[in-house]
Structures are given as C-alpha cells and as structure tokens.
Symmetry: C2
Subunit: 270 residues, 2 copies
C-alpha cells in the first residue's frame, strides 16, 4: 500500500467546493473519478482544507492510499494529463503510511484578494473581490492584528444549524499571523491595485476567513473600530461581526506539516 501526497492548485470558480456531492462538480469528486481511471479502483482522497464552493487553492494538500505501482511522479503526470486545466497537481510524493493531509496539518495559510482599481481586468475577475470604494487601510491593518493569538471565534463562524451545538463545541482557534498587505510586490505576485489579507493559523472554522474579511471591510468603512474586535470575541454573536465575503477572493495558499526528517513518528515508522 502506497500513501501519495499531492499538492494541488485549482480555480474553484466552476466547482461546488472540495467535498464530493452527488450530481455536483467538486474537486474531490473530479480527482476520485480520474484516479479511478488510472487505478481501476474507487479511492478516497482527503484534503487538508475542505474549501467551499468558489474558493481557490494554490497550495492545497491531499493524500490517497493505493495498491497501484505507479510512482508519485507518474501519478502527477497522469493526473495532469486527465484532469481539467482548472485543477493541477503541482507536486506529488510518496509519504509514510500514517500521513493524513487533514489531521497532520500544523498550519494553513489563506489569502483574500481585494481589487481596489476601478475596472477589474477580465483575467482577474474569478480571483478577486472588487471593492473600489474608500477604505481606511490603517484601521484595517490594526484590526487585522487583533485576530492574532488564541481567541474564541464564535462571532466569526458559520452556524452549525443547531443552537445547542453552536453553544457547546469549542470555537477557540489559534492564529499565528493576520495581516492586510498592499503594494505587496513579490509576496503577493499580484497587481499594485490589490489589497491582500493573509491569515495563517493552526485551523479554521467554516466561513471564518470570509467573516473576518467582512469584519475588516466594516472596519475600513468606519462601521466598526479596531477596538471592537476583542469585544466581538467576547460577545460570541455572529450577527455582530461583518458579513461573510464572497468566495471568489479566497485562496488556500499553503498547508504546513512537520518536517518528515524531524518527525519522531516518521522516524519510528520508517
């Protein structure tokens, strides 16, 4: 049995998100279909982040287990030959039998792109949220920093649909970095007309990045102040934070794992 780790990039515009759903085009479903063609088996593939409909990735990580004797490099080439252009395998490697893309992830980085220019180039509209209106950058930058650290993100989560569940499950999350960039040059690899929100954390609640982004835009418009962020953590009330921003601006940029060379478990197992 081989365990293959894939690094994936995709344009989420035309997909109903990562997770397989009957009758819907999904990233996971598309990969499973193509892997079935290659291996004659219906394999399960797990991703680090189950991105929602319309959300993109440049550094999603997924893994699947197979008896196939294809090497990781052969899987990469064969998958890229059979997958639509909108899903690409950027890298593939064989990993230890216990590696799990989701459970082993130590950190994930998301980016949210806001296009500030007057006209969105036709080559960018799938990947940016257009907001040409006045925004107070300094206030947004200050507010963004307030999300760093360990906080209760109940005010920034999607409802589970059950009040009891919402009350009882832990919504505490650890954020390592939360920053609004502009004129980001090299780091952004994008135009000078963009602002980019970058957030790196151990894990995230559903819609959390898009809710934070909506809150930051409310700060930029003067509807909220940076000092309101700690109060929102205390309130645990989704209705008090900003709106959930549209998916098109959001991209899962990177997933981090322990360096296998330094991983005790990998050492013991290999």
């Amino acid at each position: 049995m081989h365990n293959i780790k894939l690094t994936l990039a995709y344009d989420g515009t035309d997909f109903s998100g990562w997770q397989m759903q009957p009758g819907q085009p999904t990233i996971q479903g598309t990969l499973i279909d193509v892997l079935e063609k290659l291996t004659q088996h219906r394999l399960m593939i797990h991703a680090a982040g189950r991105t929602d409909a319309g959300v993109h990735a440049t550094g999603q990580v997924a893994n699947f287990k197979t008896h196939s004797e294809l090497s990781a490099g052969e899987f990469q080439r064969a998958l890229n030959a059979l997958l639509p252009h909108s899903i690409r395998v950027a890298a593939a490697e064989e990993v230890g039998p216990d590696f799990h893309a989701r459970w082993d992830a130590l950190a994930k980085t998301y980016r949210y792109r806001i296009f500030r220019g007057r006209v969105v180039p036709p080559f960018l509209w799938r990947y940016v949220q257009h907001d040409p209106y006045p925004l107070d950058y300094a206030a947004m930058a200050e507010a963004a920093r307030r999300f760093e650290g360990e906080h209760d993100f109940a005010s920034f989560a999607a409802s589970t649909g059950s009040e009891k569940d919402d009350r009882e499950r832990t919504m505490t999350r650890l954020i390592y970095r939360s920053e609004v960039l502009r004129d980001a040059g090299e780091e952004s690899a994008t135009s000078a007309e963009e602002w980019i929100y970058v957030v790196r954390g151990k894990s995230f609640l559903r819609y959390m990045v898009r809710k934070i982004m909506g809150t930051l835009v409310d700060v930029g418009r003067g509807k909220l102040r940076p000092e309101d962020i700690p109060k929102l953590f205390e309130m645990r009330d989704r209705s008090k934070s900003g709106p959930t921003m549209p998916p098109r601006g959001l991209c899962l940029a990177a997933v981090e794992y322990a360096d296998p060379a330094n991983s005790l478990r990998n050492k013991v197992l290999s």
Copy 2:
C-alpha cells in the same frame, strides 16, 4: 453625433473572435447587444484589430457613433455594469467625428505567451501556450529580430482561399519590433517561467503573429535556423514556415494613434 473611442480588455477564451457572426458569441456582437440596451439603437462598432477566436486583448481599441447624450465616462460605467466580466472597458473618451479605430491605427502590439514551467497554474491556462520542452532561446531571439523591417510576409499569412488573390494582393508589412523576452519582469507582468514574444508593427496579415511564433518555435527546436527567415520571405510559401500556433497564447496588447494634439486633421476639424 458623438464618436466614442473605447479601450477594451477581454478574455477571448469563450468567444468566436471579435467579428460578429450569427449564432456565435463574439466580442463585437456582445458589445452591439449591450449598446442597443443603452441607446435603443443598433450601432456599428469598429475595432482596430479583428482578433480571431480565442485571442485575448488588453489594449484593443474600438469606436462607435451615437446620438446618445451619455458621456464617454457614463458609457464606460454602464457598459462595465452590463457586459460579462470577460469583457471590460478600460477607458472611454469622445473623439473627433473622423476617428476610425481601424483605419487610423498607426501601430499595433501583440504578445504571445509561452509557459515554460512543467505545470501550468490553473489561473493561467487560458492565457498561455504550454511548452516545457527544450528550446534554444538564443536562436529564437536572433530569429525574432530578422522579422523587423519591411518584408513580404506571404510565407506567414493565412490563405485567402483563392490562389489568384494570394498571388496578387500585397503581403508586404512593416514591423517595428520583434523580440523574444524571458525573465521579462516588469514589462511582462508575468511569471519567471514564461517566455513572451512581443511584436509591434504597422499592420498584420491574418494569423501572421501565430505563424511567426510557430516559426520561432521551430527555430528553438533546431528545425529551422535564424538564417532561414530571410529565405522564407523570398519563398512566399506558407508550407515552408512553422505551424500556426494556438490562439490562447496571443493577446492584442496595444494600439497606437497619432497624438490628437499633434494631428493636423484634428486641429482643422476642432
């Protein structure tokens, strides 16, 4: 009567080119439909370059005449609100009554993007031709320069379908710049994994840029040498030059006109 000049950017992937054709999605047809909604009139709109199916533009120029009292800026905003995201009006201005986007163009610049990396990012596939195989850059750069100047481009033109027409019409064209760039940084606004062919000329024959590009790739592969380019001009034989490259890598980047302030005709008329 007002004469409105538009600078257009479009993603040509899902269009059958600029020129209106019944039952086909075209850039011109889409613009005429939207202008009809705005003015209640079916207006004609002329473009500097009638780009083929799948070809993109960042600096196409077009003009239309209208009795509408909407200002150029109002036309820009209204068109951008009604057009699909894949067609954008980057600029609009009112010009003199004699301005014609096609007849008055003094030069056009095209770019052809070749992605040299192993995996095309899902955000780029519509805009680049993928060629990860070895190419002799120095030979291609030298060959590209041989296209500069005034030459008979019969070997680099689409057939008109009539041998007599092909023989009789003039295929002489004047090229100001013909250059293959890599690591183009600022100028290319693209990734380090791309090579870009830039060609600026007074006017072009149909498929000419894509035929030149195919010939340059043949030079890169060693099938042709830079010294063969002058011979190809002499031969006037389409079958001896390289293949017509796919449209997706091609983009009409800019169209130049005489500075209206220095134009005698505009001075006399205004």
